[in-house]
Symmetry: C2
Subunit: 426 residues, 2 copies
């Protein structure tokens, strides 16, 4: 007899058939005696289609109107899901973000939730209905529709779970939980039963796309237990929750990798104070999200700066760097589009010295060259050449004792699920 928030992403509601399956799943929970609030994303590629439609009438549409447009995507899927539940003889009621009381600031397209007035959701639950809420959207105090930006539906689910004091926030997706590494890259990866908020946050930030870092951050702040599980099977997934420090912890929880970044190196800069500040303020003003940075001085007294950034921002980054190079007399600009970041994550690292050394030694033994290094108290990230990402993940996975006895077989998945996994960072 629990109160459950269950979030289904765009892939899970991509077609009427899949919506029917989600309806069955929610009804099964209801039949077990639970109260259920479902949170849904827009169907499949709907959001992309709406973005394209907007682009056809305005190359840089106002964000208020964009949010007005995009919020229709979830409104369609939530109404259809409510209908599908009703078709099976169960009560359901759907609410848009504003009807569900999700109040946000007016930062259109990436609004933050200020608070949630849950009275309509509670009313819906009291009538015995399965309540279906549109993810990704909210309303300003002025009464304008906002969207929460990337990862918004996960955030809606976690925020609602917090608002109604749900026992668990189940996040359904095309993968069946959090793995110690991407099973397609490391076939001996194992599904984790539990991951701490801190570790999940690092894993999410470093390329494990199953959960959005923002939602995990919210969950950590309000102690919402997340259950990451598959929309296509009944298997238990991974719990993301507070893990007592006294618990016996593995040194490393998992290994994330990310091949979506690129690296730019500026050579021959005058070695004087403020150079890095200039470069990165130009990049920031061009909306480039810089990840890792290295600055060093070569033998000729000139400075070199390297940094990584999302490959999708390549044009903005090059434009900014060319401007900076002119200003700072750089002798050369190099871009490496084929890099990979591999990150070891584990809260246990804090109490276990020598992790970095062991990681670097392992990579060296496997003849994998480290291009850049970045660390946090519970994470070690290295940048390697893109061609070596699989080898790097595998040898680290083995070296840190993460290998499972069973080998993950990709053929267990349908072509559809594999396609979905390939696209999991969306």
């Amino acid at each position: 007899m629990a109160l459950i928030v269950a979030k289904f992403g765009g892939t899970s509601v991509a077609s009427p058939e899949r919506i029917q399956k989600v309806a069955q799943r929610l009804i099964a929970k209801k039949q077990e005696g639970h109260d259920v609030v479902a949170v849904v994303s827009a169907m499949g590629k709907t959001t992309d289609e709406l973005v394209a439609l907007a682009a056809s009438v305005n190359t840089s549409p106002a964000k208020r109107e964009m949010d007005m447009l995009l919020s229709t995507g979830e409104q369609v899927s939530m109404a259809l899901l409510a209908m599908a539940i009703q078709a099976r003889g169960y009560q359901a009621v759907s609410y848009t973000g504003w009807q569900a009381g999700i109040a946000t600031d007016d930062n259109y397209s990436s609004a933050k939730i200020d608070n949630i007035d849950t009275h309509r959701i509670r009313e819906g639950l009291e009538t015995g209905a399965i309540v279906v809420v549109a993810g990704f959207q909210g309303i300003t105090t002025e009464g304008d529709i906002t969207t929460l930006g990337r990862g918004g539906s996960d955030t809606t689910a976690v925020a609602l779970a917090c608002g109604i004091s749900a026992d668990v926030c189940e996040i359904y997706s095309d993968v069946d939980g959090i793995y110690s590494a991407d099973p397609r890259v490391a076939p001996r990866a194992r599904k984790l039963d539990v991951v701490s908020y801190d570790d999940m946050l690092e894993l999410s930030s470093e390329g494990a796309g199953v959960l959005q870092a923002r939602a995990v951050e919210f969950a950590r702040k309000y102690k919402v237990v997340i259950h990451s599980r598959s929309a296509f099977s009944d298997a238990e997934g991974t719990l993301i929750k507070e893990v007592a420090p006294s618990m016996e912890q593995a040194v490393i929880s998992g290994i994330a990798h990310d091949t979506s970044e690129m690296k730019i190196t500026m050579r021959g800069l005058h070695d004087e104070p403020g150079i890095a500040a200039k470069v990165f303020s130009i990049l920031a003003s061009n909306n480039v999200s810089v990840d890792m940075i290295i600055q060093n001085v070569s033998t000729d007294g000139k400075a070199n700066i390297s940094f990584t950034f999302p490959g999708s921002q390549k044009e903005n980054a090059m434009e900014a760097v060319n401007r900076a190079a002119e200003m700072l007399d750089a002798s050369q600009i190099l871009i490496d589009e084929n890099i990979a970041k591999v990150s070891l994550v584990g809260t246990g690292m804090k109490s276990s010295p020598g992790v970095a050394a062991r990681a670097f030694k392992t990579l060296a033994e496997n003849e994998i060259n480290i291009l850049m290094i970045s660390t946090s108290p519970i994470r070690i990230s290295v940048v390697v050449d893109g061609s070596q990402v699989e080898a790097a993940v595998r040898c680290l996975h083995t070296a840190f004792g993460l290998d499972s006895d069973t080998i993950f077989e990709e053929t267990q998945l349908s072509a559809e699920e594999i396609a979905a996994k390939m696209n999991k960072g969306r």
Copy 2:
């Protein structure tokens, strides 16, 4: 310097290109110094597509969820229209039905407007923006989304025009005004400059699909001047407004025809009181909208009842009639699917006796057999065989002096416009 409400139907916003044209049109009005509130329908076939999507998950979806679903259609087109206006450097702001303050009852799928809180629209206008409002939708006092049903967007436009005391409510469609008859049927039909509310109401009710009767009724009640005009040309259309009785009026304003009805005849009923009541209460309980009714008694003392109804309700009608026939021992049921109703409409009829006689004589001279007759103080409708509808409209059009000197050439229209006209009753 007027305040204008301009409504554009689904055909007018069916593609990004057409939305751009609507934006240009609205901007032209703004440039002339007018304040503009646009009301839009969903793009093209969007509503049909959403209905099909709903049917794929639930064969009889709850109306609340249906309205939730369908209301997204206008939300998409209004956001795109606002973006298209902004792309041209003009201010625009879009509002959903609930944001525009359109309060309705909770009669989902065919809600009635209770009142309109126009403060957001006024605020928008005060900032100098072109205000774009979603047609067809409103909100209940509980905060649930409703739709207004068939003709809802026209009604939204008229109601808003009333609420903000607009000078005129322009209703743009694929036809350029109200004609004395359908030009495709009567090539000498003339475009009318002015039509009274009463005549327009009869014309709309009797098959002239340009304006929805419901919107005309609303306009008549609140004295809103409607300008029915083409979305594809700048030509003046037809004004629908109060016409002073003292004005010199034509006897007949126009001739409407309607081929969408069917006729059922029940024969051999016992001629006793209450038979008609029984037949029509069964039809009503089956949601059949009966139009014309004839009851007579044949020589054998048995009663015959004939009635017409929308062809789209054929199944419901037959089911009801079969039930009634069994109850009342009818000897025979006949259905005629190929009939046409031709209606002469004109307020001038009231002060001009002999119109009916002249109409019947004209039809007789042209060897057109009258199957049924129905009249109101300003309308005479006859049902004729479907094969004779063109002949009937043309001979009446000529007989009542409506013929124009110029002949309407269908080739003046693009294939698209013709297709749109063919579909104008939607």
